[in-house]
Symmetry: C2
C-alpha cells in the first residue's frame, strides 16, 4: 500500500513539473487531504504555493492542517490577507491554536489579525492553558443544546450549526449559565420514537468529563477506557468550555507511548519526528543521559579497583563479570518495563506495591534458581571440561552461580520498586527504566560477586 | 478521580452485602457500564449473579462485554437458556466473537446454540480469519445504503436499522453484489441542502479500506493517520464484509505499544494484564530470553579469558570494563529504540536506511568524542590525581578513551542497523532492542578495548 502510494506521489510531482495543471486538479479532487499533504513533503519551496492553489477551498484548508510547519510558514508568508482569511475561516479552533503555537512571532501576528474576533478569542483562551492539559488540546466548537428543546428542534439546530463543528455526533446539553447538564448523541436523536420528546427526557445525565487542567495522558486513558467519540471539558465551576475529540486522544496515546520508550532508553523525549531532527538535535537529547550514566559508572570502577587483589589472585573470576552484570541488568529491566507500562496504562497504582513486590519476588526466585543451575552446569561442562580451563574450580563455579541467583533476585526487586517509588514522588516512572537500573544493578552485582568470592574462596 | 471512584465502589459492595437491592438498583441505573464492570472485579463468586440480575436488560449486556473472562464464564454457567439468549441478542457480533474465543469448549457450545442463526454464522465467519488480522477484529454490523436512495430514504433506513449497528455515523454505499462504492456520513446526510439528492451524488468515492487479511497493526496506523470513526473491510473481490471501529483500533494501538515494550526489554509478549498473571506465567515469559542472553554472554567471557594476561599485566584496565560496556550498551539502545519506534509508527521505512545510517553516524561521532573527552579528564583528575591511583597512567587513560569513542560509534551503528535488518527479513524489529544489542556491544567493546591496549600499551 505504502509503495503504491509512492508511485502515485511521484507521478503527481512529475505532472506539476510538466505544468499539466488541469489533469493534476482532476486527480487531486479525488484524494484525501492527508495524502495530499504527503505530496508537499517532497516538493521544492517554489512548487509548494503552485500545488496549493490547485486545491479547492475546502480541501486547501484540510490539507493545510496536515502539512509540516515549514511548508505552512512558507505558504502563510506568500498568502495575501484575503487568502489567509479564507484558510483560517475553514480551520477548527484547536488546529488554529496548534498553528499559532508552531509559527514565529511575526507570522502569529498576521494570523491573529486575519482571524475573526470570535476565533481570535478562542485561540487565546486555548493558548492560556498549561501545555499537555486538556484545555490545550480541546476545541471550543461543539454543538450545545438546551434541555427544553424537542428532538425535532435539536436536529434542526444541528443542521443549522453543524458545518463548523468538529463533531456533531455527541451534543452537550447546557443550562443558561453553561453548566453541563447531560449528553445526547445523534444516534439517540435519530432513533428516538417521538420527535416531540424533549432533550431532557432523552439525555444521559451520568456525566463523564475532564477539567481544563486534567493531564492529557489521563484524558487519553479515559478515551481508551470508555470508547467515547468526544469528552466534554469543563472549567473549575463546572461550566462547559470545550471538547476533546477521539482523534486528538489517539495522537496523545501515540505521543505518550513514544515518550515512555524514549525515556526508558535514556533519551530526552522530543516531539520532532526522527527524520526531521538534525544529528545535533539527536545529540542534545542523548548526551546528557549518556554522560550521567557514564559518570555514575565510576562506582562500579571503584568497586573493581578495591577488589583488584582478589581479581589478581583468582584470575578466572573476571571472565564472568560481563555475564553477571548483563544478566542482572536484563532481569531488572524486564521488571521495570512491566511495571512502568502497567503504571502508564493505569493498570497498576501505588497501592498495588505489595502485590507487585510479592509477584516479582516469586518470579525472581524462579528465574534466579533456574539461571544459576543452568549456569553452573554450563560453566563446569563447557568452560572447565570442554575448554579445559583449570583456573575454574568447583568453588569458582559455585561463587559465580550464587552471585548470579542473588543478583537476579535483587535486580528484579530494584526494577519493580524504583518506578513505583518514582510515581509516588510524582516523577515519570519511565525515567527509572533499563539504563538507570542497569547502572545500579551493575554495582550491586559486583558487590555481591566479591562478597561470595570472599566467603567461599577466602580471597 | 480514581480514588473517589474506589470509595463509591466500596459503598456499593457494602450495599450488596446488606441486601439493600432497591437503593443499589437506583444507583446502578445512573452508572456507566464500564464502571459497573469494575465493581464485579472485587466481588466474591456467589455475589456476581446477584449484582448482575439488578441491572437493566440493556445495561446487563453492555456491562457483560466489559467484564473479565472468569466472571463472564461464571455468569454463563449460571444463566438459563433464556437469559443467555437475552444477553447474546444485545451483543455486537465482534464482542460475541471475542467471547467465544475466550470461553472453554462446553461454554462455546451453549453460546452458539443460544445465538440466532444470523449471529452464529457471523461469529463463525469472524473466527475463521487469522489472529491479528482486520477480519478478526471487525464487526459485520454496519449500515449499508444503495446509490440510488435519496437522502430522506437513507435517513429513514438508518432510523429503522440503526439500533443494532455498532456505529451509524459512517454508512457504506454498496452495489447489489456488495461491491463497496462509496461512503456517506450522517453529518453529510443531515447537512445536505436537499432531501431529494441521491446518495450517489453525495457519497465520497475516494475510498480508503483494508482487506480481511490486513494486519491489525496496519489497521491501527491507518486510523491514527486518517482519523476515521470506522474503516471498511473488504474481501479479496472488493466486496464489503465488515467494519473496524475506532475503539477497537485504539485497543490495538495500546496492545502493540505494550508488545513492543515487552519485546524491547526481552520478554515474550502476553495479552494477560500483569495483575492477573501468576508468577509462573511471568517466569515463562521472561526466562527464555534471560537464558539465551546469559548463554550468549559466553563470548564476552571467552574474550576476557583470552586477554587474561593483558589484564594481569595492567590491572588498572579491568576497572573500566563495566563503564565501557555500560556506555556502549546505552548508546546502542538509544539508537535501536529510536529506530524501532520510527518503524512501528510508519515514520521510517527500509528505504530510509541510508539517511538513518548517516544521521546516526554523525550523532555517534558527536556523542563519542564528547564522552571520550569528558572521560579522559575525569579519569585523570579524579582517579589518578584525587584518588592517587598510580596504576592509571596517561597511556591507560588514552586506551580507555579511544576504546570508548570507537565503542559508542559502533554501538550506535549496530543499534540502528539491526532493527532495520530485522524489518527487511520480516522479523519484528522490537526483538532487536537493548538486551540483544547490549550482548553484541559488550563483546565488541571488549575486543576494541583490548585491541587499543595491545596497540598503545603493548600488553
Amino acid at each position: 500500500m505504502a509503495e503504491r502510494f509512492e508511485i502515485v506521489q511521484k507521478a503527481l510531482v512529475k505532472m506539476l513539473e510538466d505544468k499539466k495543471y488541469a489533469t493534476l486538479r482532476d486527480i487531486l479532487i479525488t484524494m484525501n487531504p492527508i495524502d495530499i499533504a504527503g505530496i508537499f513533503e517532497d516538493l521544492e519551496d517554489k512548487q509548494i504555493p503552485i500545488l496549493f492553489r490547485l486545491l479547492t477551498k475546502e480541501q486547501a484548508a484540510e490539507t493545510f492542517v496536515e502539512m509540516e510547519p515549514d511548508a505552512q510558514e512558507l505558504l502563510i508568508r506568500g498568502f495575501s490577507d484575503n487568502e489567509l482569511k479564507e484558510v483560517l475561516d475553514e480551520l477548527y479552533v484547536d488546529d488554529a491554536a496548534d498553528l499559532v503555537e508552531e509559527m514565529p512571532a511575526n507570522v502569529v501576528k498576521r494570523i491573529l489579525k486575519a482571524a475573526d474576533p470570535e476565533m481570535r478569542s478562542s485561540i487565546n483562551q486555548i493558548l492560556r492553558y498549561p501545555e499537555y492539559s486538556a484545555g490545550s488540546i480541546m476545541t471550543t466548537e461543539y454543538v450545545s443544546l438546551r434541555p427544553n428543546m424537542t428532538v425535532e428542534e435539536a436536529i434542526l439546530r444541528i443542521r443549522r450549526q453543524g458545518v463548523d463543528k468538529e463533531t456533531i455526533y455527541t451534543c452537550y446539553v447546557t443550562a443558561k449559565d453553561r453548566q453541563l447538564l447531560g449528553i445526547v448523541t445523534v444516534k439517540d436523536l435519530l432513533l428516538a420514537d417521538d420527535d416531540e420528546m424533549t432533550i431532557e427526557e432523552l439525555m444521559l445525565t451520568n456525566l463523564i468529563f475532564v477539567t481544563t487542567q486534567t493531564d492529557q495522558e489521563d484524558v487519553a486513558r479515559m478515551f481508551s477506557k470508555y470508547n467515547f467519540l468526544a469528552l466534554p471539558v469543563v472549567d473549575g465551576e463546572g461550566r462547559m468550555v470545550g471538547i476533546v475529540t477521539f482523534d486528538d486522544a489517539m495522537d496523545v496515546m501515540e505521543e505518550e507511548a513514544t515518550e515512555d520508550m524514549e525515556l526508558m532508553s535514556g533519551m530526552t523525549p522530543s516531539e520532532k519526528p526522527y527524520l526531521r531532527s538534525s544529528p545535533f538535535e539527536l545529540f542534545k537529547n542523548r548526551i546528557p543521559w549518556l554522560m550521567l550514566l557514564m559518570v555514575s559508572a565510576t562506582f562500579t570502577g571503584l568497586i573493581m579497583t578495591s577488589f583488584e587483589d582478589a581479581l589478581a589472585a583468582q584470575i578466572a573470576l573476571s571472565a564472568f563479570i560481563p555475564m553477571l552484570m548483563g544478566t542482572g541488568g536484563n532481569s531488572g529491566s524486564q521488571s521495570s518495563v512491566t511495571v512502568i507500562r502497567g503504571l502508564s496504562l493505569g493498570e497498576l497504582e501505588f497501592r498495588d506495591v505489595g502485590t507487585v513486590l510479592l509477584k516479582e519476588l516469586c518470579t525472581a526466585l524462579m528465574c534466579g534458581v533456574t539461571l544459576a543451575v543452568v549456569c553452573f552446569a554450563k560453566i563446569w561442562l563447557v568452560d572447565h571440561l570442554l575448554f579445559g580451563n583449570e583456573n575454574i574450580t568447583l568453588m569458582v563455579d559455585l561463587v559465580v552461580c550464587c552471585a548470579l541467583c542473588v543478583t537476579v533476585v535483587l535486580a528484579k526487586l530494584v526494577g519493580c520498586l524504583l518506578p513505583i517509588g518514582a510515581k509516588a514522588i510524582k516523577l515519570d516512572p519511565a525515567v527509572m527504566a533499563s539504563p538507570f537500573i542497569t547502572t545500579i544493578v551493575d554495582a550491586l552485582s559486583l558487590l555481591i560477586y566479591f562478597l561470595f568470592a570472599k566467603m567461599l574462596l577466602g580471597v
